[in-house]
Amino acid sequence: MQTVQHQSGAEGVDTHAGADVDEIMQKVAEHKGCGTSGGSGKASCGSGAGENDLPPEIWEKVKNHPCYSEEAHHHYARMHVAVAPACNIQCNYCNRKYDCANESRPGVVSEKLTPEQAAKKVLAVASTIPQMTVLGIAGPGDPLANPEKTFKTFELIAKTAPDIKLCVSTNGLALPDHVEQLSKYNIDHVTITINMIDPEVGAKIYPWIYYKKKRYHGVEAAKILTDRQLQGLEMLTERGILSKINSVMIPGINDQHLVEVNKAVKSRGAFLHNIMPLISAPEHGTVFGLTGQRGPTAQELKALQDSCEGEMNMMRHCRQCRADAVGLLGEDRSAEFTTDKIMEMEVSYDLESRKAYQAAVEKERDAVVAAKKAEMESLAGEHSDIKMLIAVATKGGGKVNEHFGHAKEFQVYELSTAGAKFVGHRRVDLYCQGGYGEEDSLATIIRAINDCHAVFVAKIGGCPKNDLKAAGIDPVDQFAGEFIEQSAIAYFKDYLDKVKSGEVEHVERGDAQIRQGALTSAEAA
């Protein structure tokens, strides 16, 4: 009985919200650059969007936010400070007891900080990494379950480093209580993790929540959670705060359902949807890890992201980073900034030199965009149904500039006559350790990029080159140091010519593995 009521509950929200709210949401959503009226609004919204695709005020908010702009994430860095250890819900993919410096996943942190320590850390990082533009509070618990610590941290940083964007990532349960305060502190970006809008699905993901001095279980808990999440999202939209929705894709539990979630959040004005693969291994000690719940394969994840993209643009560059991560999204420099090290650091916050550095970054970005545009002209008039993936070894700046053996991850681009599009990334073990290759690591890399036709690298040794070729992946080092998209388009044009002339026969690639339990660069310390 309760069950039936709850199943319709998710849709019921729409009905009870009424047409007026729908209208407002539509307007706000359009204002935010993300129309809800179907396909036409799509191109103007989301992480892949560039300067010319967004209204100026929105572009200003996302242009140097690595988590909100795919383009920005090649150039700008973020950091999280772990000031919020308490949480008000339990998720089956999270185990709060676990911490290891070599793990990179949300909810994991090496040390918790006081707001004062966090403020010092932000200054230390900002003076060391001038392209660090964004500070997020993402746990390791829920920031809004620790409101005093969270807002105290924001207050201190707003005073000492006013050019840094502040953002917060929450499970949404306490969000409606804090939207006013978020607005007051000029928090422009809020991420809500929404894994379901159907409490029956939610009951399989959340064993309990703590709400209004009570612990709730099962469907009842999930019903409260989804109502609060959607209410919070609507409140953010009404105030013009950009919201990103994170969803964990759990095969067999919410994978199909996330299409419904996508519609629900889009209609409430969410800016961006980030569907992430479940991270689940027995050694994490999570419920899902222990029950053997698997994560999605690369093709399953991409298929779901693609199917939602018709409705709304998708974030595909999320690295599911730790609650104390520091650096570009594909790297983690947190080990350089432990509390002990920070307290010894001489910190001088020089706003001018940060600005000068960032101006240079902007020039580089313009060059990337211009190069891509120029190369696209070579594809003009080309028609082909061929789509292919390539993997790229890069250490940032939008260039093919990483040695195959040093790559900690590969960025994946989809090539077609429409151009080169970033569609994801694959974490890999360090293949090159101490100067010699290890065969097992190479097998891991091949499994991780098995769906790609080619891998672009700055340099590659003879042995891995031959093994890649044997696996049907073309190792490409001719674009060393050049821009990724420009190179990819040139490669694709050449590939099409070869297919046409019969020199190459185009064959589809198989699936690839998403690595569980990624490593971080903790050893870089």
């Binding site: 250890p85 339990q90 703590y210 001095k213 009570k214 612990r215």
Partner: protein, 74 residues
């Protein structure tokens, strides 16, 4: 008449501290939390369930301390 926190289970997340209606919970030097048995009322008279138990993310961490008789509301 009190709950206690099992030290080996406590993650130091601090979730319990602000929820205690008696301000009986405090942080120790090693970053974990303890309950002052003299202040703990098992939330009787305040809430339906002990707040530290309800909010704690780790099962069997906030438990009845058998060294004290159960709390009796005045």
């Amino acid at each position: 008449m009190a709950y206690k926190i099992v030290k080996d289970n406590c993650t130091g997340c601090s979730a319990c501290e602000p929820e205690c209606p008696n301000q009986a919970i405090s942080e120790t030097k090693d970053g974990l939390f303890v309950i002052d048995p003299a202040k703990c009322t098992e939330c009787i008279g305040h809430h339906d369930e002990a707040q530290c138990v309800a909010v704690c993310p780790i099962d069997d961490t906030c438990i009845i301390d058998d060294n004290y008789p159960r709390y009796q509301a005045a």
